[in-house]
């Protein structure tokens, strides 16, 4: 039992090392993400889409998983998630620059369409919602094969409106699957506000109707996110079934580099977002608890910047795909 004086992280059994790892993962993700916007403005990256503001829930979730054993069916905001699972900054930048060695798709897809077999990050499309069903299928196969694997998927608040999302939750409930659906609820689907997306405050209210567990969590709070996710993973591993986590997060950037959120979000709302920075919040916690010092933080930021610099330099110099390879990999034999 946690005593009154016990820290939040100690109550969760989290060691300082792990806290540092998670902090560093968030910082790196933000650094990579910011850089891609710079590249976009420089005309070097035709399209970017961001995870800024969504880092806490993603990094927390990744740290409850076993990379290479548990599965992720991601969505396009999952840069922090994928980095935390082991994707390198360089691998991501190869996609941003549309280079042949992009491990996700050989630059066939837009950047942020993640998929890396070695990390069990399953290839994803742009079609919102389809990945959730795949995650159910993965979980069904794990269960059928008697394997101790957890299948995790992410989606936005808008994505939950898709029929596929419902069909997935229903399957997960029927078969009590080792499946976790994380809804990253940032109040918008491009410009469509929450009130026009659903008639309730949070989709976590839908869990009961499927026979799955529901968790509504502040997705900007790393420790709260970690707690909810860990409970979900334990539930999955214990054969107690699926969990729907709805994590409230803040979308810091426009939807993508093709969007301008000032067209539809009030200025005051945009300013208020900044107070919801998950990285700031965790940094303050770590400083307050003495887990990191200002100097540590400075070092981490510098390391991450250096990592990004190197990734960009390497990726920019890499080869572009060859036109004739357009015809490859339609089928196994071609």
């Amino acid at each position: 039992m946690a005593t009154a004086k016990e820290t939040r992280h100690a109550a969760l059994g989290l060691e300082p090392d792990r806290l540092l790892t998670m902090y560093r993962q968030m910082v790196l993700a933000r650094a990579v993400d910011r850089r891609m916007w710079v590249l976009n403005r420089q005309g070097k990256a035709p399209f970017v889409i961001s995870g800024q503001g969504h880092e806490a829930i993603q990094v927390a979730a990744a740290n409850c998983m076993r990379p290479g054993i548990d599965w992720l069916c991601p969505y396009y905001r999952d840069l922090p998630f994928c980095l935390a699972l082991g994707m390198t900054a360089r691998e991501f930048m190869l996609a941003v620059f549309a280079k042949a060695d992009d491990p996700n798709s050989g630059a066939r897809q837009m950047p942020s369409h993640f998929g890396i077999q070695r990390l069990r990050i399953i290839t994803s499309s742009s079609v919102v919602g389809t990945q959730v069903v795949h995650a159910v299928g993965v979980a069904y196969a794990s269960k059928m094969r008697g394997l101790d694997e957890v299948s995790v998927t992410c989606i936005g608040d808008g994505g939950t409106s898709q029929g596929d999302w419902h069909e997935s939750m229903n399957w997960a409930g029927i078969h009590k699957l080792p499946f976790i659906c994380i809804v990253q609820d940032n109040d918008y689907a491009i410009s469509v506000p929450h009130r026009l997306q659903m008639g309730v405050d949070t989709v976590a209210r839908r869990a009961e109707g499927y026979g799955v567990a529901g968790e509504a969590v502040d997705g900007g709070d790393l420790l709260a996110s970690y707690e909810a996710m860990r409970r979900a993973v334990e539930r999955a591993r214990a054969g107690q079934g699926a969990t729907l986590i709805s994590a409230k997060v803040a979308r810091f950037t426009s939807h993508s580099s093709d969007d301008d959120q000032r067209r539809y979000r009030p200025q005051a709302e945009l300013e208020a977002l900044l107070r919801r920075d998950p990285i700031e919040r965790f940094r303050n916690y770590l400083l307050d608890e003495g887990v990191v010092s200002e100097a540590d933080d400075e070092r981490i930021q510098q390391e991450c910047t250096a990592e990004v610099d190197e990734a960009v330099t390497g990726a920019e110099a890499a080869e572009s795909p060859r036109p004739e390879d357009l015809l490859k990999h339609v089928y196994a034999d071609g």
Partner: protein, 327 residues
């Protein structure tokens, strides 16, 4: 008359039809305050309010299904699918429902509905923001399929589509939105569905296309002009109903047919055009019916070298024209 973009033609048609007939309304993802991801519906939200310019949940099947229901209850919905690539979740509502309302009720019900969607590539859209989907729908009895390629047609054909008593699929090539400019007549006019447009008369061969490819064919034809080869370019404009007479008439004149489309070769709508010619104008043909289309790979990659390799280019079209003319 004023010079406008194709996108403006569409926007004007929407605004004027909504003004003219209060039954007309617009629904789709981001069509409201944002004015659509391509800004096609810009300004409509302020003019007509949220109920008639409705931002929907992210769920295409319901966008179409709700429009169907509303069409059966005295309104004229114009549904926007944000990208044609994302129309597939609505496939069932379009094919099993909208297309058959009239037929299955033996004429008791009807479904006056327009579904607009930007399609096509060449804009770094990658596998899921570049596709051509017209072949799926041009196969479906009960639907009409319209693809404008000029600002004038965009406006006039959309007006006809909105006034049409049956469901119309209205596909807008996204690369033409701002690239293609042209005169748009002042005042109200409607361009009839089911009529092809001869964009260029010619004697040596007939070239059939739609959307962006109609422009590429024009470019190629101009190139061939220099070599003394006169190419007739026909923009089909509506694939369903198809202007068979225009197709056959042209082939009877030139004896050579080239069909150009941006979609994958196999089973693309160009196959139908070629098959019609092969059956109904066989005696007039002096050469094989040639198709130029994209290769049979899932879609257009994001990276530029492969995107370019996928798209039929004016150069490739010109080369095929030359070969065919010389056959």
């Amino acid at each position: 008359m004023a010079e406008k973009t194709l996108l403006q033609g569409i926007r004007e048609a929407l605004g004027e039809e909504m003004e003219r007939d209060e039954r007309v309304w617009v629904l789709g993802e981001d069509v409201g305050k944002k004015g659509g991801v391509f800004l096609v519906t810009e300004g409509l939200y302020d003019r007509f309010g949220e109920a008639r310019v409705l931002d929907t949940p992210l769920a295409e099947s319901s966008i179409v299904g709700v429009a169907i229901g509303a069409a059966m209850n005295g309104t004229l919905p114009v549904a926007e699918i944000q990208f044609a690539d994302f129309i597939h979740p609505a496939f069932d509502q379009i094919v099993s429902e909208a297309a058959r309302i009239r037929y299955r009720s033996n004429g008791d019900f009807s479904c006056p509905l327009v579904i607009r969607a930007p399609f096509g590539g060449g804009v770094h859209g990658g596998l899921y923001h570049s596709q051509s989907v017209e072949a799926y729908y041009a196969h479906v009895p009960g639907l009409k399929v319209v693809i404008p390629s000029t600002p004038e047609d965009a406006k006039g054909l959309l007006k006809s589509s909105i006034r049409d008593p049956d469901p119309v699929m209205f596909f807008e090539h996204k690369k033409t939105y701002r690239l293609i400019k042209g005169e748009v007549p002042d005042g109200d006019y409607a361009t009839p569905l089911g009529k092809a447009a001869v964009r260029r008369e010619g004697a040596s061969l007939s070239c059939f296309a739609w959307g962006l490819m109609a422009h590429y064919c024009m470019q190629a034809a101009e190139e061939l002009e220099a070599d003394g080869v006169s190419v007739e370019v026909i923009d089909l404009r509506t694939l369903k109903p198809l202007d068979k007479e225009a197709i056959l008439g042209s082939v009877r004149k030139t004896a050579r047919a080239l069909v150009v489309y941006e979609d994958n070769l196999t089973g693309g709508f160009g196959a139908e055009v070629a098959a019609i010619i092969a059956q109904e104008a066989f005696e007039h043909l002096d050469a094989p019916v040639v198709r130029v289309a994209a290769p049979d790979v899932p879609a257009m990659p994001f990276n530029k070298p492969q995107e370019d390799a996928f798209m039929p280019s004016p150069e490739r079209i010109a080369a095929e024209m030359r070969k065919l003319a010389a056959y």
